[in-house]
């Protein structure tokens, strides 16, 4: 047991360091910063996606459709704009710098690298427009890169104290507004020059270059089912050691999977075929709570020992909402060799099962709507665009319960013997 403690200590430290890295935390901050917009956009998508003819007719006749389209257009379709500001903000904040200027500079830089077109109007003026293509999912990686560069350079310059020195008599509020000018100048000129250089390459823009060189291959790898199964497996192994594995792993995978989801969501809203089977939504729907809800149901239905009766009552409701820590630590599943197989492999199986159900055409693809935490299982599935996903989750719960049963029965028997002994 001593070796175990040392080993888990090391593992904990390693993964603690990974998930605490400034870069990953900034990424998460960026994604979270976009939530107020993307969640509204997601709900609008759900409402718009309800395939009831009478309702759709009413949307159009009442003008509700226009409202929904606006909500979607300026949330889902321009997510990268919010993310870039959020990442730079998160970075600067972690470096204990004034973070709003960093967010503004990031947004500024992001717009600088976004290609625009100038079209002469009939009145002799010129109409400038930027294509929204790179402001949404396709611009996600540029947003990440620009956000991180701006956050880093801004914080670096501020830490070094390179600023315009004003006389002491100038009120601090004035001088602090000057403090953002040097990093703003350096960064915007940097991106403007870079953007000009790239406009002469075959990529035509930084966005396109990042999209072709980085985003497409990375999304290809990440939206591969085997990658997802491996990622789920690793996450569950970490849980076995008592570490919130999915959180660690999602800090790397979530930005990519969210970009994948955004592709689906954009296609969904445009009424086009959905390009991806898996993504963030798929991950959440198919592995919610790491399948431990099945164990809670076993406890409710079959527990004879008072220990598991209590734990079942305690954990069933949170389990329905995808919160399974009571089960993980109370059963416990942590460092428990006898529950290793279901705890680690059942989520992997669930994802594979869901994948096959969709790939075979039995189920449609998921719209990729971002579901806020705390939406109960089954409802969570339904909002992905079809009641069939609610059914999928119901089937998964039944499978989980059946698979957990033999393992639970053994533990319960032992607990009962201990109690009566």
């Amino acid at each position: 047991m001593k070796i175990n403690a040392e080993f888990t200590g090391k593992i904990s430290e390693l993964f603690g360091n990974i998930s605490n890295s400034v870069v990953l935390k900034s990424l998460m901050a960026g994604m979270m910063a976009a939530f107020p917009a993307t969640i509204v956009g997601s709900f609008a998508t759900i409402l718009k996606g309800l395939q009831i003819q009478a309702l759709q007719d009413f949307y159009i006749s009442s003008g509700i459709m226009n409202v929904l389209d606006l909500l979607i257009m300026f949330s889902i379709n321009v997510t990268a704009l919010y993310v870039v500001a959020g990442i730079a903000y998160g970075f600067a904040k972690q470096k204990q710098q004034d973070a709003i200027p960093a967010a503004i500079i990031a947004l500024f830089s992001f717009l600088i690298i976004t290609p625009y077109t100038a079209t002469p109007t009939e009145f002799g003026t010129v109409n400038y427009s930027i294509s929204m293509g790179f402001l949404g999912g396709s611009g996600m990686f540029s947003a990440i890169i620009v956000g991180l560069i701006v956050g880093f350079v801004y914080s670096f310059i501020k830490e070094k104290g390179w600023t315009i020195k004003l006389p002491d008599s100038v009120p601090p509020i004035v001088s602090s507004s000057f403090a953002g000018i040097i990093p703003g100048l350096i960064l915007s000129v940097f991106f403007a020059v870079l953007s000009t250089i790239f406009s002469h390459t075959s990529y035509e823009s930084i966005h396109q270059a990042i999209y072709s060189i980085l985003q497409t291959p990375l999304m290809g790898i990440s939206s591969n089912i085997w990658t997802m199964l491996l990622v789920i497996f690793l996450g569950q192994i970490l849980w076995f050691f008592g570490i919130h594995g999915p959180m660690v792993i999602l800090s790397v995978m979530a930005p990519i999977w969210m970009a994948v989801d955004l592709q689906n969501l954009t296609a969904f809203n445009a009424g086009e075929p959905l390009p991806n089977i898996i993504g963030m939504a798929f991950y959440t729907i198919s592995t919610i709570g790491g399948t431990a809800l099945g164990l809670a149901i076993c406890m409710i239905l079959f527990a004879k020992s008072s220990r598991f009766k209590t734990l079942g009552r305690l954990s069933i409701i949170p389990g329905i909402f995808g919160i399974t820590e009571p089960l993980i630590f109370g059963t416990p599943l942590v460092m428990n060799v006898r529950t290793f197989i279901p705890a680690v492999f059942l989520p992997v199986f669930s994802a594979l099962f869901s994948y096959l159900a969709i790939a075979s055409g039995l189920l449609p693809r998921m719209s990729g709507v971002g579901v806020p935490q705390g939406v109960p299982i089954i409802l969570q599935g339904i909002v992905q665009g079809s009641w069939l996903f609610g059914l999928l989750q119901l089937v998964l719960v039944v499978i989980w319960t059946l698979c957990w049963y033999p393992f639970f029965k053994k533990m319960d028997g032992e607990a009962l013997r201990e109690e009566t002994a």
Binding site: S12, I243, H244, I323, P326, L327, G330, G374
Partner: protein, 102 residues
């Protein structure tokens, strides 16, 4: 006594919060307690005497200790079994003992 619980997202610890509150009420003690995500904790450090970590983010203990113990906040990981069984009384006891330590 001001207690703050942190975990990955502040979800499962929020259940723990209710259990601890109930345990304190039963003993006639008024405590102020909240659950937040680990990344949001810095905003609540001012109003915290005891910082308790959900075991799933136990890896953050040494870092949070290093950051907040100098500020006089007691930091510890919640006992795994107490966390799993959502034993509010035991965790409340743990918080009291921490505070009593010199």
């Amino acid at each position: 006594m001001n207690i703050t619980l942190v975990c990955a997202a502040g979800m499962s610890t929020s259940i723990m919060v209710n259990k601890i509150k109930a345990a304190a009420e039963k003993e006639g003690e008024t405590i102020s307690i909240r659950a937040v995500s680990e990344s949001a904790f810095s905003n609540y450090a001012e109003e915290t005497d005891v910082l308790l970590l959900g075991p799933q983010i136990g890896y953050a203990l040494s870092r949070l200790k290093g950051l907040y113990e100098p500020k006089g906040i007691k930091v510890d990981v919640i006992n795994t079994i107490d966390y799993g069984m959502m034993n509010g009384e035991n965790v409340l006891k743990q918080a009291r003992n921490l505070l009593a330590e010199k």
